[in-house]
Amino acid sequence: MSNSVLRKLINVVRTARSEVPVYRDLYERCENIYSLEDFSGLPIVAKSVLAKVGLIQSISSKQTLCITRTYGSEPQLEHHMPKLLSLEDVNSDFDLLRFFMDPVIQRAVQPQRIMIITDDLHLYAAAELGNQLTYYEWPLTLFTASNESRSELSSYLRWFEPTVMFLDADKTLLEGMGHPSLKYIFTFNQIGRGPEIRHINHIYDILRDELAGPIAIACDRSYQYIFDSSLFYFETGQDGRLLVTSLFNQLQPLIRYALPYTATLLSSSTFRIDPNSLDNV
């Protein structure tokens, strides 16, 4: 563990404590942190806690709200919390996109043709992703599919001949489909259970949480995820629960935020999700 990560964690905690009401209250009886051991003594934060206190209590009063990102499906208001980013956070968000797109960028000798397939439930999240992906200035399309529009989906695949596909929808929509042009498929939260698609060698799965956003990526239906250690710090709680701390989200800090999986940390940038914990998600 590098000193720079510890410095970032100390800074994140200090800022959250001074600027964000919910953390001010949570850390009221906690000492300042100087080590990872101190850090691991801070309270764990669940989404239900943040949803209960509300948005204003969980954002910094000193940052300017820039945009929201919608990572969940259509919100169930009881536990819904939007993710907010300041302008500085948006830059880091792009670093994160570049991290996920690395497998494509590394091998890209010519512009890729990106197709996003989504459904009614994930449409806004897919649109946000599309807005980010326009950064590459590659041909990009978005299609909202359903079981009733499988023939249209098939015709769009033949028309557009995508090389990269983001599937932010029920994976069964693509069953029996595919196109020889396709080289990379990105799915979301499939965790070891990616779709079977003809012609495809590489399927990447992005682990995404409504509040933490996209956080890690796995290859070829693996349970082993890799993350950018300059942007996230992962640890596990006593019960093996995976905890994430965002090192960049200044407007709406997430510190020791509990994800709905148990996992094993393998290195400073990899963890393996316990398949048995998926039943509870």
């Binding site: 949803a51 509300g54 948005l55 204003i56 709200l65 820039c66 945009i67 929201t68 919608t70 259509e74 919100p75 208001l77 819904h80 919390m81 939007p82 907010l84 009614d120 449409l123 806004y124 897919a126 649109a127 946000e128 599309g130 807005n131 992906l133 326009t134 200035e137 590659w138 041909p139 990009l140 399309t141 978005l142 299609f143 909202t144 359903s146 009733e148 529009s149 249209e152 769009y156 028309w159 557009f160």
Partner: protein, 439 residues
């Protein structure tokens, strides 16, 4: 609920619905935004349920108008009131003025979807239609279009993000054979004439829905004449959401009066208008009150658009009033007391024989004189001298211009730029560098 029959109700019925919506809205926004509550109480509308409809409208129309600065000023109060009901946030780009954000709640989004469905219905879309949205990157707007289409039972729509070179990318997009194209006019115009062949090879395309910008009438006629494409306008703003849509009668845009309260500031009777069905036309600066959006509510919000308005029923059968966009308020400028408008100068430069094209006017001054720089696309540079000669002739025939030119206090300059300049970002049609706030 998506309820098309409402659009054919009598104006009295619609006004009744609007009055009840306004009462609910006044109570709701008073509880959410202290600044609004002060205004509403001061106007005597603290209990709008005690006031008759006509009086309610009259008193409400006396409330102060709000502008962009007022809109930004309620940012925090609106966020506190919205809190975790916030679903997503829409932002203006901030290229033509300070960036503004609208907070959208789940309920607001639901209303937007209904209004989008009504707009798409006004365009006469069918279940068998294939809609292609071509944009530089705003996928959020397309998402709303998809939700609206879904309410009409239309499943076949796709978004295509344009990149350079535009004409080639546009051709790539059109090869999916859409029947309806939804795009920003300047992107389409910029892709001409290279796109002509692709349009001829896409006989399925019969409708253009345009948004964000007005479509030049000569370009609209050209699309219909050459390619059989019928154009429809969709009017919306980030701050207020959807405002209105053009129907197949093409006699203005129907405004969603049951969901909006429309005011015209600086109201006048125009000397000229293009409505065929009208019962008198008024012109003014459009102010919008969204009667249901509570994430970031507006109260007589000035959009900065000058419109003409009539309440006469339309040939399509809808009874909802209609408006026509005239120009942006900032499209007018004055030199030594003489008033000019972008529209007027545009007509001088692109007369009717020309295919319409781009123009930006930059007003600047030094110690002795004012300079009007007309920024034009490089593609017409070959006719520079002819354009300049025509400009001098036509401007010189206007008494105000003639006086300024004769006394050497006004200079005219033409600057030619790559057409990319006009579409790479949203630019102001008139940039007045005499006012440091506008630069």
């Amino acid at each position: 609920m998506y309820e098309p029959s409402l659009e054919r109700a009598s104006l009295e019925q619609i006004r009744k619905i609007q009055a009840n919506a306004l009462r609910r809205y006044l109570v709701a926004v008073s509880a959410r935004i202290p600044n609004y509550a002060d205004k509403i109480v001061a106007a005597g509308l603290s209990d709008p349920y005690t006031v008759e409809d006509a009086e309610l409208f009259a008193i409400f129309s006396s409330l102060p108008l709000m502008d962009g600065k007022d809109y930004v000023a309620i940012d925090y109060a609106a966020l506190v009131a919205t809190d975790r009901a916030l679903y997503y946030l829409e932002s203006t780009s901030g290229t033509t003025s300070a960036p503004k954000s609208r907070y959208v709640t789940v309920a607001d989004d639901s209303l937007d979807q209904q209004l989008m469905a009504r707009s798409l219905s006004a365009f006469g879309l069918k279940v068998s239609d294939r809609l292609l949205t071509v944009d530089l990157g705003d996928l959020n707007f397309h998402s709303l279009v998809v939700k609206g289409l879904s309410k009409l039972g239309i499943r076949d729509s796709i978004f295509y993000s344009l990149r350079k070179p535009f004409a080639r990318a546009f051709a790539d997009a059109l090869s999916c054979n859409p029947s309806v194209l939804m795009t920003i006019p300047s992107i389409l115009m910029r892709s001409m004439p290279d796109l002509e062949l692709s349009l001829r090879k896409t006989p399925s395309l019969n409708k253009l829905v345009y948004y964000c910008e007005p479509l030049d009438i000569s370009f609209e006629r050209y699309l219909y004449r050459e390619f059989g494409i019928e154009s429809f306008s969709l009017y919306s703003s980030i701050e207020t959401g959807l405002i209105g849509a053009e129907c197949s009668a093409h006699d203005g845009l129907h405004v969603w009066l049951d969901a909006l309260f429309i005011d015209l500031a600086e109201k006048v009777t125009p000397a000229k208008h293009d409505f065929t069905q009208h019962d008198g036309v008024t012109e003014g600066s459009l102010a919008i009150t969204t009667l249901s959006h509570l994430g970031k509510p507006t109260l007589r919000y000035l959009l900065g658009d000058r419109v003409q308005y009539t309440q006469a029923p339309c040939l399509c059968g809808r009874t909802l009033p209609r408006l026509r966009f005239v120009e942006r308020d900032t499209d007018n400028f004055s030199i030594y007391g003489t008033k000019f408008s972008f529209r007027q100068v545009y007509q001088y430069i692109y007369n009717e024989e020309d295919v319409s094209n781009f123009l930006q006017i930059v007003v600047s001054e030094n110690q002795d004189s004012t300079t009007l720089t007309f920024v034009l696309p490089e593609t017409i540079n070959s006719s520079k001298n002819r354009k300049k000669e025509r400009l001098y002739k036509q401007l010189g025939s206007q008494p105000g211009f003639a006086f300024l030119l004769d006394h050497n206090v006004l200079n005219i300059d033409l600057r030619f730029v790559e057409s990319e300049y006009f579409t790479r970002r949203k630019i102001k049609r008139v940039t007045d560098k005499r006012n440091p706030l506008n630069t």
